[in-house]
């Protein structure tokens, strides 16, 4: 009985990184962006070049986190149900006209947090557990409702 009570927490502990990968992703903005909430569509439009300004009127600066790659892929999967290859192909079509820019790329969640905290028009995404007080969550993708 005692053993059984000990095994379950240990098992859960061992699976922690896997569980964290399924963690929900938070779309974040600068606290003074003038926005408290964004719809999934608005986020999609901002990240895929359709909207270049935030609803508050600020020029949008979308930032995407490319490392770790599963988070990057999970973001687009959750947002528009596409994989990264499809997103890349999409951008490849738009790339040569130069009118639409793909999101700025950040190498880590840390960098995303810093970029968003530093720019009023910036918008980014991180795992929900990485969110701190310096940014404002406007949309949560995936995870528990």
């Amino acid at each position: 009985m005692r053993l059984r009570e000990c095994v379950l927490p240990l098992l859960l502990l061992a699976m922690a990184p896997l569980l964290r990968a399924q963690e929900s992703i938070a779309v974040i903005v600068h606290p003074e962006s003038g926005i408290s909430q964004l719809s999934r569509e608005e986020v999609t439009n901002l990240y895929l070049g359709r909207q270049k300004r935030l609803p508050s009127g600020l020029t949008a600066l979308p930032v995407e986190q490319t490392n770790p790659r599963p988070v990057w892929a999970r973001f687009y999967r959750l947002l528009v149900d596409k994989d990264l290859a499809e997103i890349n192909a999409y951008w490849a079509r738009l790339f040569f006209s130069g009118q639409a820019q793909p999101p700025h790329r950040a190498q880590s969640a840390q960098e995303v947090m810093e970029t968003v905290a530093a720019n009023r028009g910036a918008i980014g995404f991180v795992e929900r557990s990485k969110v701190n007080r310096r940014v404002k969550v406007v949309l949560v993708l995936g995870g528990a409702p």
């Binding site: 999609t44 895929l48 359709r50 079509r93 738009l94 006209s97 009118q99």
Partner: protein
């Protein structure tokens, strides 16, 4: 030209037929091609849309006019597309057309709705393609040109083949046959030979038929030749017969104009040296007897029956009399065939026979038959009476008995001569038998004259008859005289009886006298 050449005609017909079929095929092909070309064009445009749809959707999504322009430019690069428009719900992002501005189109445009690349259910714009009708027309024209070329080549080839075939298997053999027919000596029985390779086909049949015809003609010709030879022979025979016949044969027209004659005809009429009597009048050739011949001819013409006429002809010198018998036979409308025969010898022979039958051989006087024929049932020929005298010699039997038959015959001969001497030349003496004689004295004055003659007669007979022995005998004569006035009924037997009775009376009264018959 066209009607004159089978090859040309056949070729033209074949060309015409293939061209007609070609035109029909062309028409059908164009019709089918047109529908097909339109649907093919539509399919091609759909395929184009499939290719550019993601880019177009992306351009719409971000409203990227540059990309949109790229897309529509790319689309009008296709020959099927006349113009292309990419538009969002709010605006036209880009448009392009092949030449100049977009013209209003009859052909329905192809509209492809564009969904957001990230939200398939949300429509963010549309891509409109207007097809280029010229492309479909070009397609149709290409196919039609191909069909026409094929048909043209086909009809040309067919025409050539037909011309070749017709020329080789029909025209050339016919021409060869025609040439050989021209050169064919059909009358010698020459045969047409077969153009090589056509022994068993229709041409061969034609040659066979021609040869059969030639053979039949040859046979007919031979029969004709034989018949002509036979005819010539017959004609020569008839000619010979006609020329050598003693009878003159001739043909005249109804009016008497001479048409044809044999040499004998001329000979009989003594016309051998004269000019041929072609067309001259038949009666005129007969000289003095022309009238009788003319009458005979007219009778023959009118009655349509055979006419026979015996004519007496004197020759030029008038020395010889000839009898010619002319026979005329109608031989069809207005034609008369005639025969001319010399019957002189016949008549003479008949006359001789007559003489023999009617003359007494011993005395040369008529016999009983001769007398009977001469008199017939006729009294006097003239206006005066006929006189018959029956003479019976007296004492003739004694002369016969005592001096023999020769003396008797001499007495009889002398008696006849003396009776003839007592009469006129026109009177006749007949010996009825034995020593009985009948004298026919025509046209006598009266009874007295008759008795006078009778007396003279008795006197003449009563003269002595000298015999060869040197002496003479004497007989008498009893004469019965009967006169028959003209118009009185007369029969030989009755007349003879009458004279006989008178003669009997003369015997009774003492002989050597004449007695007149009185009834």
């Amino acid at each position: 030209m066209i009607r004159g050449s089978i090859v040309l005609r056949t070729t033209l017909v074949v060309l015409g037929a293939t061209l007609a079929v070609g035109v029909l095929a062309d028409h059908l092909a164009i019709k089918a091609t047109r529908t097909r070309a339109v649907s093919q064009q539509r399919e091609a445009m759909e395929a184009l849309l499939d290719v550019v749809e993601p880019s177009a959707a992306a351009a719409c999504f971000v409203e990227d006019k540059a990309l949109a322009q790229q897309v529509v430019q790319g689309l009008v690069g296709s020959r099927s597309v006349q113009s292309a428009i990419l538009r969002t719900a709010n605006q036209d992002l880009a448009q392009a057309s092949r030449d100049g501005p977009i013209a209003p189109q009859n052909t329905p445009a192809l509209v492809r709705p564009l969904a957001s690349p990230f939200a398939p259910e949300s429509r963010i714009g549309e891509l409109v393609l207007i097809p280029d009708p010229a492309e479909a027309a070009r397609q149709v024209a290409r196919i039609a040109a191909m069909v026409r070329a094929v048909v043209a080549v086909l009809s040309l080839a067919l025409g050539c083949v037909m011309a070749l075939v017709v020329h080789r298997s029909i025209t050339r053999p016919i021409r060869i046959l025609s040439r050989r027919l021209h050169e064919l000596e059909a009358t010698t029985g020459a045969r047409l030979f077969f153009p090589s390779g056509h022994e068993r086909d229709e041409i061969g049949q034609l040659v066979k038929d021609v040869n059969a015809l030639v053979e039949r003609l040859m046979n007919a010709l031979q029969v004709e030749r034989d018949l002509r030879g036979q005819l010539e022979l017959d004609q020569r025979k008839v000619q010979a017969i006609l020329e050598n016949a003693g009878t003159g044969i001739f043909v005249v027209q109804g009016d008497g104009r001479m048409e044809a004659w044999t040499p004998a005809f001329l000979r009989l009429l003594d016309l051998e040296g004269a000019s041929p009597p072609q067309g001259s009048d038949l009666p005129a050739l007969f000289g003095l007897t022309a009238d009788r011949v003319g009458t005979c001819l007219a009778r023959c013409r009118e009655q349509g029956l055979r006419q026979v006429e015996t004519l007496q002809i004197s020759d030029l010198q008038g020395t010889r009399q000839r009898w010619l018998q002319l026979t005329l036979d109608p031989i069809g409308p207005d034609w008369i065939q005639g025969l001319l025969e010399d019957v002189t010898s016949h008549l003479e022979a008949a006359e001789a026979a007559q003489e023999l039958a009617t003359r007494d051989a011993l005395t040369g006087a008529l016999n009983r038959l001769g007398a009977e024929r001469l008199l017939g049932d006729r009294p006097s020929k003239g206006s005066r009476p006929l006189c018959l005298m029956l003479v019976d010699l007296d004492h003739f039997k004694q002369v016969n008995d005592s001096r023999g038959h020769d003396a008797g015959d001499e007495v009889l001969r002398q008696a006849v001569l003396r009776m003839q001497g007592s009469l006129r030349r026109t009177d006749e003496v007949a010996r009825l038998g034995g020593d009985e004689f009948l004298l026919i004295v025509d046209n006598l004055e009266d009874e007295a004259m008759a008795l006078g003659i009778a007396d003279k007669l008795i006197a003449a007979i009563g003269m002595p008859v000298p015999l060869p022995e040197g002496d003479a005998v004497q007989v008498g004569a009893s004469v019965g005289v009967a006169l028959f006035p003209p118009g009185q009924a007369f029969t030989w037997e009755a007349a003879l009886k009458r004279a006989d009775r008178a003669m009997y009376q003369a015997k009774q009264v003492g002989r050597n006298c004449a007695r007149l018959a009185r009834d």
